[in-house]
Amino acid sequence: MSIFTASFVIGVLALDSTIALQMLLSQPIFGCSILGMVLGDPLLGVEIGMIMQLLWVNVMPVGASTFPEGGVGSMVTCAIVIISPIVGSENLVFAYAFVAGISVSALASQITVLDRKLNNSILDMTLEAAEKLNFRRILVLDIMGGLFYAGLIAVLVAIVLSISQWLLPQLQAQLPAETEMILRFVKPAVWAMGIGLTAHLIWNTYKNRV
């Protein structure tokens, strides 16, 4: 049930990235906080959102460019951590969730490209509807375009969360006990990456490179 809920919420919030509203709801600090509330652990949601946010502040959804879907990836990280079936391996869960989230951000950007290609067909259908002056059909096609994207993202998230639910207990059982200690710096490393990328962004804005 949690997987279904998380996939649905992430699918809907993903629309905010480029398709509808664009009010920052898909950004980690907001998206993960909302997801945390829905999944029953709002404070953990906020914490994961904060850690992940700085990684993506310099991602610009400009025009036709392909960019990592950091919001979706961060929400996946957040969902994995919150609904994790294992206890006592916090560093392992976070490291796994982070890698899964980063991977999803890359996969979701490819889904965005695929969706935009499929939208070429919706353009043809819209032009046909315009010729027949069918306003209702044009509106339905417009809504369908957005919903299709949300559906694709939700399916991707559901697959990743299902795999995680199965894989995390296996990893905990198979990996040596020292793994927790070895992975202890992963969370500081994510902060460090975010700080580095943000510092680079600030530097560029003062040099007028962006």
């Binding site: 946010q53 700085l54 809504i143 070895i182 700080i195 990328l197």
Partner: protein
């Protein structure tokens, strides 16, 4: 200027767009990128946003069809700044519906000019300034609070800091574009936008410095190793980002460094 609705006479002249029509366009403009495609970019969202205006201005199906097809042709813009183009289009379509035969050609020319102009202004103001620096400020403020109510307050404040100018600009662009028409193109308040961007950047930078101080203190207290690892990995990520210029490779390298640091810490 055109704030009141006039009666429509039998020859379909003197039709005026009302504030309510503009509000309807405004609401639809939040979905302007819903069918972004590689052939006509945001044209479907643009055309759909203008449907209330099309229905209001034209009653002959042939005129409605022609107008709709005009606005389904290639168009691109920053999604928030597109409201200026929507307003100008409403202005010129109104003129055309009221008998101005030059309005159609003006519109075609103007939309071509607006593609580059609105995109550049919107990207610089929102994507490169207001958005990143609001998010940086949001993270900075969240590091300062721990009570659930305070956290909620910070989230709401950050949301408003971004969305008040965002929503205001969508509405103002639409209304100004409609009231002033093509003349607004030579009179965009670019200097005001630059000043607003600079204010957001200054606040964001102060927030970032504050955040660094709080984070170093908190993480150092958690574990002394963090006080060494955090600055080293930060430097590593900056260097990797500058020289490799690939986000995923940078992440992989820093992650491996963190695991190596954990292994060294274990063996010491």
């Amino acid at each position: 200027m055109h704030k009141t609705e006039h009666t429509t006479n039998s020859s379909n002249k003197d039709i005026r767009i009302t504030r309510w029509d503009l509000f309807s366009v405004f609401l639809r403009s939040f979905f302007i990128q819903s069918v972004w495609n590689y052939r006509s970019l945001i044209s479907i969202g643009f055309g759909v946003s203008l449907i209330p205006v099309i229905k209001k201005l034209y009653h002959d199906p042939a005129d409605q069809r022609a107008c709709l097809e005009r606005h389904l042709e290639f168009f691109n813009s920053h999604p928030y700044m597109a409201s200026y183009a929507l307003g100008i289009s409403a202005h010129l379509e109104e003129a055309s519906a009221n008998g101005d035969e030059t309005a159609g050609s003006k519109l075609e020319r103007l939309k071509g000019v607006l593609v580059g102009t609105l995109g550049a202004i919107g990207d610089n103001l929102f994507w490169f300034r207001i958005k990143p620096f609001t998010l940086i400020l949001g993270v900075a403020l969240l590091t300062l609070v721990s009570e659930p109510n305070s956290i909620l307050l910070v989230l709401i404040a950050s949301f408003l800091i971004y969305n008040v100018p965002h929503v205001y600009l969508r509405w103002k662009g639409l209304v100004d574009g409609y009231e002033r028409g093509p003349e607004i193109v030579s009179d965009f308040p670019v200097e005001v936008f630059k000043r607003v961007g600079a204010v957001y950047r200054s606040i964001g930078v102060v927030g970032f410095i504050l955040f660094l101080v709080v984070l170093m203190r908190t993480m150092g207290l958690e574990h002394t190793g963090n006080a060494i690892v955090l600055p080293v990995l930060t430097l590593g990520s900056i260097l990797a980002h500058v020289y490799i210029r690939n986000f995923y490779l940078t992440v992989s390298i820093v992650l491996m460094l963190a695991i190596a640091a954990g292994y060294v810490n274990l063996t010491l």
